[in-house]
Symmetry: C2
Subunit: 243 residues, 2 copies
């Protein structure tokens, strides 16, 4: 059975303006690879409800899981929960379990549980909460859509809460060989190897280092014996890393 | 007249597996902001032709410009030119001007202009070449689709070659105020300010630093006087950064 597939939707003007560099996609991509869920697509959209609704509906239909990042705080530009509810045709109100979690948190901290903070208890009916051990305001899973915070350490904590609940597949394994020759030299033999090992994914990632061309050849798959065999043939084609 | 819009398509398994962290989106996002082209969407897909063709066709139809990154080298997994040609319903053959550029380059370097290297001269008819001063193999613009390399320094050089050709709009300006209070405190007054300045984009980007909550409030727009006015009202709402 093939591994489950996933998409990630990153929400936020600050990413698209170039002000902030996203860190969450790279973190989650590595975690999904580790547990055998295949990340097929990432989208990044602005803080605009129609764009978020359209992306949520496209990606939840075409993948086993959709993870979103960003837009679940208390400010006016936090509209992800509204957009996800709209994508599912649900209304969004304050939910009692989320409200109670937040009320207790602000009570302990001696802070007012004001209207802005109560906004973070707006969770669609039928969703299950995703624990946020850092700032308490929960994420949620609704169907196959998992709604997570954008602040990187909260995002990572939510990923750690959520992933053990999801059924993974075979971890995607990989081995890398660095070859210190240009891709123009590597390409011919590598293409034949890729055709011979069509059950594996063989990628060539070129680099320039101190003015010299090279490439990292990455062989990926779920069967370690096949990867070993392909890697030994690759190494024989380019002895001593091709240098 | 509103600014032109753009999308970016990042192509490559190595990004989706979490092995490599993309750097090109962040670079181009900043450059587009500078010249007044509004980046509305980013997608990242695997090295799979149907996924690339579908993304190219969706994004070129919905934005004024589409920039792609990755997949134009000489190896078997470099299929972006094929996918773009297919998206436009064109065939793809060796083009003489690109072939001549590459032949002269490899001749100067004393390297064989082999079949793999000739693959990089496959440019759709009607496209204009994008100069690559680093490794010569050109990118190309076909209609509103701009096809660029994935290696970061080559990508950046191609962006520098290409952007002066594109008509920009008003640069997106921004000012930032750091407020050392939680978003739950900031949200109410900030929401009223955002409603008053509906012509601007006002975003709140929370952080946790040494265990204390704060947020950077970013006010964006193209009219510097309006941004100044909104920023002065914001500063009055949160004197001394709210601390």
């Amino acid at each position: 059975m093939p591994n489950p597939t996933a998409a990630i939707l990153i929400i936020g003007d600050e990413i698209l303006s170039g002000r902030t560099r996203d860190a969450n996609m790279h973190h989650l991509a590595g975690e999904l690879t580790r547990i055998g869920i295949t990340l097929k697509e990432v989208r990044m959209v602005a803080d605009e409800k129609p764009a978020i609704v359209a992306a949520v509906n496209a990606l939840r239909a075409s993948h086993d899981h959709l993870f979103t990042s960003g837009g679940i705080g208390p400010t006016h530009d936090d509209i992800t929960a509204d957009a996800v509810a709209e994508a599912f045709g649900l209304t969004l109100g304050i939910r009692e379990d989320a409200r109670a979690l937040l009320a207790a948190h602000y009570d302990r901290a001696g802070l007012e549980f004001n209207a802005a903070r109560q906004r973070m208890a707006r969770i669609p009916e039928g969703a299950s909460l995703i624990e946020n051990p850092i700032s308490i305001a929960p994420g949620f899973s609704l169907g196959n859509v998992h709604v997570l915070a954008g602040v990187p350490n909260i995002f990572q904590a939510m990923v750690a809460s959520l992933l053990p609940r999801l059924a993974g597949g075979k971890p995607l394994l990989s081995q890398t060989l660095r070859i210190d020759q240009g891709e123009g030299v590597i390409a011919g033999p590598l293409g034949m190897l890729a055709a011979e090992f069509a059950d594996l994914s063989i990628g060539s990632y070129p680099f320039i280092q101190n003015g010299a061309y090279g490439a990292n050849i990455v062989i990926r798959g779920s069967d370690p014996a096949r990867i070993d065999l392909a890697m030994s043939k690759l190494a024989a084609l380019f002895p001593k890393g091709g240098a």
